[in-house]
């Protein structure tokens, strides 16, 4: 189906149906439609669409209006000079009361101070003076004392004295201080020693090659 080249006129057709054009514009469009078969067909089509619009159920206007919130509930203040939106009436929050705010501030500060004091007193004075230490043998040259938890205090672990379950024995080596408390040198030493440990024993038995001398084999060849 061909279409009118004047998109402007085609755009005006729905407005012509709804009567929303000015009188002069409506007359102009009417004149065009009278001389344009394509627009006349399209106008008929649009009228058919309008006529075939699905019927809407009858609405209960009163029921809808009853459900609409009233201006008072919406918080609009009523006055003679017109309506202005008023602040909605909300119950005052407990925290917005000045006395409660002051009391809450005091409580927070007190609780924070007490927790600091308790935390400081809980530390062992001996540990504060000299933290427990474990001596880790760093190779054969020197031993490094590393601050650790009290459990293995004074014990020493050497590479040649690894137990069958080195992980289990090392589990007690919890640091009292943070890792960042150690110097770079201590950390490097500790890591190198940890690398030497074999935390997972090999499950494959080592191949044993018995030493056989020539004298042992001489009899077998016979």
């Amino acid at each position: 189906m061909t279409e009118c080249v004047s998109v402007e006129m085609r755009d005006a057709l729905p407005d012509l149906i709804h009567g929303s054009l000015s009188a002069a514009r409506a007359a102009e469009v009417d004149a065009h439609v009278a001389s344009c078969a394509n627009c006349a067909v399209e106008l008929d089509l649009l009228r058919s669409v309008m006529a075939s619009a699905p019927r809407v159920p009858s609405l209960d206007i009163g029921r809808i209006v009853a459900a609409v919130p009233s201006p008072a509930r919406r918080g609009f203040r009523l006055h003679q000079g017109g309506a202005r939106p008023a602040q909605p009436q909300r119950p005052q929050a407990v925290w917005s009361r000045p006395l409660v705010r002051v009391a809450a501030t005091i409580a927070v500060v007190t609780a924070g101070g007490l927790s600091l004091l308790v935390g400081r007193d809980a530390l062992n004075p001996e540990q504060q003076a000299r933290p427990a230490a474990i001596t880790v043998a760093a190779g054969e040259q020197q031993a490094v004392e590393v601050p650790l938890s009290p459990i293995p205090a004074g014990s020493s672990v050497a590479p040649g004295q690894q137990s069958a379950r080195p992980v289990a024995s090392a589990a007690g080596l919890s640091l009292v201080g943070e890792v960042q408390d150690l110097s770079d040198e201590h950390l490097a030493t500790l890591l190198s020693e940890m690398d030497r440990l074999n935390p997972i024993p090999g499950v494959e038995p080592e191949t044993v090659t018995p030493a056989i001398s020539d004298s042992d084999t001489s009899g077998m060849s016979q």
Binding site: P14, P71, G82
Partner: protein, 184 residues
């Protein structure tokens, strides 16, 4: 148009809104009477079949509940259509979640109008509704808002959250598609 759709004084929507804010409950009645049918027609054309009145009511409840947010930059009718369309989208999303419904395809939408046989007497009208139902959702919304509601492209763009140029393109594509459907 509903005979009650015009207020006795012929007040504009803006005046009625101000009257309602000032406590005149009759203004609400006039506003609802003026726009309820258009909202119901739009919902029906958009494919809503059930609880049309509830949808229209929810639209007005939401609109009146936030009238202080209505700045009057667009017409009240455009704003109401926008609210109603969002409610329809919410409703469809909820239905899809509940029933795992597949969105209605255009070909299926066309067959929906078989239910209109009892409502629309003429075969031509049925064919027209089928043609409209076969449009894509966006084309159908633009087409019905333009033809059945007489909204401008600018108003349609506001409702559908698109541009007036895009609405215009959708409209002309829809007209072409309806013509082709009817000629097949």
């Amino acid at each position: 148009m509903n005979p009650l759709s015009r207020g006795a004084a012929g007040d504009t929507d803006k005046v009625l809104i101000e009257r309602w804010k000032a406590g005149d409950s009759r203004a609400a009645t006039e506003l609802v009477s003026r726009h309820a049918d258009s909202l119901a027609r739009f919902a029906t054309s958009a494919g809503e079949r059930e609880e049309i009145e509830e949808l229209v009511q929810d639209t007005f409840v939401r609109a009146f509940g936030s009238l202080d947010a209505f700045r009057g930059e667009s017409s009240l009718r455009t704003w109401l259509f926008t609210i109603e369309r969002r409610l329809m989208l919410d409703r469809r999303r909820a239905e899809r979640r509940q029933h795992s419904l597949v969105p209605i395809e255009a070909s299926e939408a066309a067959t929906e109008y078989n239910a209109l046989d009892g409502m629309v007497a003429q075969e031509t009208a049925i064919q027209v509704r089928r043609a409209v139902g076969a449009l894509s959702p966006m084309q159908r919304e633009v087409f019905t808002l333009r033809v059945e509601q007489g909204l401008s492209y600018k108003e349609i763009a506001e409702i559908l959250e698109t541009t007036a140029g895009a609405a215009r393109v959708h409209y002309h594509n829809a007209v072409r598609a309806v013509k082709e459907f009817l000629n097949d």
